[in-house]
């Protein structure tokens, strides 16, 4: 499903605010995959990611009549999802052993480099392969930055991480990815 135009999104939001179930379903279909991908990239728990995604949409639907920023709907939705995720991770952190880093990125970086939770399909080709060769932390900042649609400032607020930290990680990740792709292309040319 492609990106909706601003006009189409405005119509869907207006109809859903009036109780149009089909309009609401369309909004869920449009944005659920991205919300799920972002949440999954952070919590590494598929069931929890689905639960938080569902919770985020339930919050959004109840606040639809109050929302009037059509152009920032996705950002608004992502902020709600990230806040839900942050609250849940804090709750779990309080119940678990204290970690060295308190941010979600820190928790993600300390995990094993398991790629099964990343929403990358085979059609990405070389890009997909290169992504898999990145560290988990690098993959996650790229997914967070590009799939959530949030600015670094908004990500900083959602993740309780300094903007500088996020910028640096993103810069490092994109540089590494590019070098991996270049190396892969050179290797292919060398084989020819």
């Amino acid at each position: 499903m492609g990106e909706p135009s601003s006009e189409h999104l405005a119509v869907l939001l207006a109809d859903a605010s009036k109780g149009d179930e089909q309009a609401w379903r369309s909004l869920v279909e449009l944005y659920l995959p991205r919300v799920l991908a972002v949440v999954r990239s952070q919590c590494h728990d598929h069931d929890l990611a689905e639960e938080i995604t569902q919770s985020a949409f339930c919050t959004v639907v109840s606040k639809l009549p109050e929302y009037d920023e059509v152009g920032r709907f996705e950002s608004w939705l992502m902020r709600i999802a990230m806040n839900r995720l942050r609250d849940e991770m804090r709750r779990r952190k309080r119940q678990a052993m204290p970690a060295e880093e308190t941010t979600l990125i820190g928790l993600a970086g300390s995990q094993s480099q398991d790629t099964s939770h990343l929403p990358i399909d085979a059609d990405l080709g070389n890009l997909g392969e290169a992504m898999e060769r990145l560290s988990a932390a690098d993959r996650e900042i790229l997914i967070l930055r590009h799939v959530s649609g949030l600015s670094f400032k908004e990500l900083s607020e959602a993740l309780d991480a300094p903007v500088g930290t996020l910028l640096a990680r993103h810069h490092r990740a994109i540089k590494k990815l590019k070098s991996l792709l270049v190396a892969s292309e050179n290797a292919e040319e060398g084989d020819e």
Binding site: A16, S17, P33, R34, G71, L127, F152, I174
Partner: protein, 176 residues
């Protein structure tokens, strides 16, 4: 979304040679994510969130009221029922005036006599008629001047028409 996505970009974070590459990576990742949609999860999320859809919490609209209750036929039947009810109430009210009055208690008759002192002949006759069992009328009443008018009534107490047949025939024979 690409315009809105890059509009939130802090320009000083990436060198120029990486900006285009970063944008291309972002586009590819978003398209990849969109292709991983899970229809079952969509159904679950929609089902869980429908109850909070705004219009579902509003009061029942007029459109949900059955047309049966607003049809002209129903209104006519309701009006007829109302009028019938009014007629019945009025009829019962009118007929309540024709109901035989409950016999006054003896104490009421005695009090009446005591208040007026002297009972008129009509009053004595009335008491005699009402007092079919001879329970109410008292000697004091019979001593009143008007009591003589009640004698025929008192004499016929306990008798019926058959018993008076001879007297009636005598009267009729005398007048014919």
């Amino acid at each position: 979304m690409s315009d809105e996505h890059t509009s939130g970009y802090e320009d000083n974070e990436l060198p120029e040679d990486l900006k285009a590459f970063d944008a291309a990576v972002g586009k590819a990742l978003r398209e990849s994510v969109d292709r991983t949609a899970n229809p079952e999860l969509v159904d679950r999320v929609v089902a869980a969130s429908l109850q909070d859809l705004p219009a579902r919490t509003l009061p029942i609209s007029r459109a949900t009221v059955s047309r049966r209750w607003t049809s002209p036929q129903f209104r006519a039947a309701a009006a007829l029922l109302f009028v019938t009810g009014l007629v019945l109430v009025a009829w019962f009210a009118m007929n309540s005036q024709n109901i035989e009055p409950v016999k006054s208690s003896p104490s009421v008759v005695v009090d009446f006599q005591n208040e007026l002192g002297i009972a008129s002949a009509e009053e004595v006759i009335l008491v005699a008629i009402l007092d079919g069992d001879g329970v109410w009328i008292e000697q004091e009443l019979l001593d009143q001047p008007g009591a003589t008018a009640a004698e025929p009534i008192l004499r016929t107490r306990g008798t019926n028409v058959d018993d008076l047949a001879d007297e009636i025939n005598e009267i009729l024979g005398a007048t014919s």
